[in-house]
Symmetry: C2
Subunit: 327 residues, 2 copies
């Protein structure tokens, strides 16, 4: 049997009882190491599993998949994935290959950021498409995520943005010289993510001469663009994101004991020191206009500036959500 087993979000004890049994009965145990990381060292996993763990790099999974699958029709092989095995990044490729070799497969699910983001208090139902934000460089700022974010914002739904990680990357020089020397792993910080997003926003929607007007959910795009900017040139695609009037939440180390959430406006969040968020892994949420009072209240517990933070002002004035007393 070829087991693909989710490890959950935090440490060695987030594996399920069923998953642990499969690992302990496996002849070989691989740990997928390039789409996410666990908060514990491999050695700790090995001690807990009482099994050696083979690190599976991207190259190994893509080029030596048949080695990983070897003998899985006769003995049990476990392939471990942080989070859910089919969550953010699917390993359906490996599963399809196994099935084409008539190898029986079994998927043991676990928590992933996609469900754990419920910790923000935002309703899962109110999320739209999930995005991935890559690291920008001086010359390469891929913004294919932007139209999808706009689609979500236009509908008023929330957006989960997964932040890039770089594991086992080579520098250009080392790559050119064929040296297998890898850079230390890098994990995008929420401050960097918000600044990248605001950079792309400012390129896509350069500040107009008149004061930019932010759209509220109750106004339809078409009628809105007619109302605003009287006498001015109308922007057929008005900006849906504003540094000071769009709410967002950073999620750091979700599901671990050091989990940290911070909520505020985009500009508040972008201005924080990276240290404020602590270590990886991080992701961020852009809040949609269909914000519910209970969501505002729950996520407001993590607001920059506490009870006097911009979170509440923008929630009321821009999102149109009145605070309610729940208890």
């Amino acid at each position: 049997m070829f087991y693909v087993i989710g490890l959950g979000l935090s440490d060695e004890k987030d594996i399920t009882v069923k998953g642990l049994e499969a690992v302990k009965g496996s002849e070989r145990v691989y740990l997928e190491s390039y789409t996410s990381i666990l908060m514990v060292e491999k050695e700790k996993l090995e001690a807990f599993y009482e099994r050696p763990v083979i690190t599976a790099t991207r190259e190994m999974v893509e080029l030596e998949a048949d080695d990983i699958l070897k003998d899985a029709d006769k003995v049990d092989i476990s392939f471990l994935v942080v989070g859910d095995p089919l969550g953010a990044t699917t390993h359906s490729d490996l599963l399809l290959r196994a099935q084409s070799r008539n190898i029986p497969t079994s998927i043991i699910h676990n928590a992933s950021i996609l469900t754990a983001l419920g910790s923000t208090g935002l309703q899962m139902y109110s999320f739209g498409q999930t995005l991935s934000l890559p690291f920008y460089t001086e010359t390469w700022r891929p913004d294919s995520w932007y139209p999808r974010l706009e689609e979500n914002l236009r509908l008023g739904v929330h957006t989960l943005v997964l932040l890039d990680i770089k594991v086992r990357e080579q520098s250009e020089e080392n790559m050119a010289r064929g040296r297998l020397i890898y850079e230390p792993p890098r994990f995008m910080n929420p401050a960097q993510a918000f600044n990248q997003m605001l950079l792309t926003e400012s390129i896509r929607h350069p500040a107009p001469k008149p004061q930019p007007q932010f759209q509220s959910q109750s106004q339809k795009t078409s009628s809105d663009s007619e109302e605003e900017g009287e006498g001015e040139e109308k922007d057929p695609y008005p900006s849906l994101m504003s540094p000071s009037q769009t709410l967002a939440i950073s999620l750091s180390r979700v599901g671990t004991s050091s989990q940290r959430l911070i909520s505020g406006t985009l500009s508040e969040l972008a201005a924080l020191d990276e240290e404020e968020f602590g270590g990886p892994l991080h992701s961020v949420v852009i809040v949609g206009k269909r914000l519910h009072p209970l969501e505002l209240e729950y996520a407001g517990k993590f607001a920059i500036g506490g009870e006097n933070g911009d979170w509440w002002r923008v929630g009321k004035e821009v999102y149109g959500v009145e605070r309610e007393t729940f208890y």
Copy 2:
């Protein structure tokens, strides 16, 4: 500590090692019983946990929350939820209440249908808003889910539809007479779900025989409306869903050993006997137009009619996805 612990999707062994430790150390253990069900009896859980388990009904959670939280500042209390504790239905209400009582809380995440639907082979990134489909009656056919489905279809993203369950419901007669007699639990079957969805579709977009009275500038001929699903510009509100040209997938008992997925057109799926899908729990996915060849291939493994099924024809002709050879 007040623990809210996800149980995962299938049986007693889907709890995480960390969750199991928390349960075993808890003074009282509650099992939330009204938003989902596990595939095992409560007695089996109790034997595995070596702890009595108190069934928490909706009334108990809503009316006697303080009893559940009692002493959680001094001893450990566990509140068990099928799937992820904050997945499909959040229990943020209970958590907010605990925090307002200065009770420390801890959330132990687990798999939920939201991540496990990766089993379809569809990419999590390509899903839009999640919907809930309630049971229809002769007189009550709530279709507030429909505009959200249309929003997803217009963008071309996939839609997860969670199907209603009725646990501890009273008949109208028993309720009127104040008799606390409950009906057997009911779980919506995918065949029923697809038929309900097609019913609402036919009401919202009746067959185009009569010309709409208040058609805007660009009139359409009735034959034009056959080409639906493409977001035609002529009809201001074209139908985006077609029985024979929209693809869907049913998911039954996802994450369990008896998991069954079936893919096909809406009309193929709606025509299946309920028995084809087996027992609960079920959910369904409506496939969006941004279908990727690898998604088509993976989900096509469960297609009605196999290699000759309508899945492939519609995938090519309507979704515009050419089959590729992967292995």
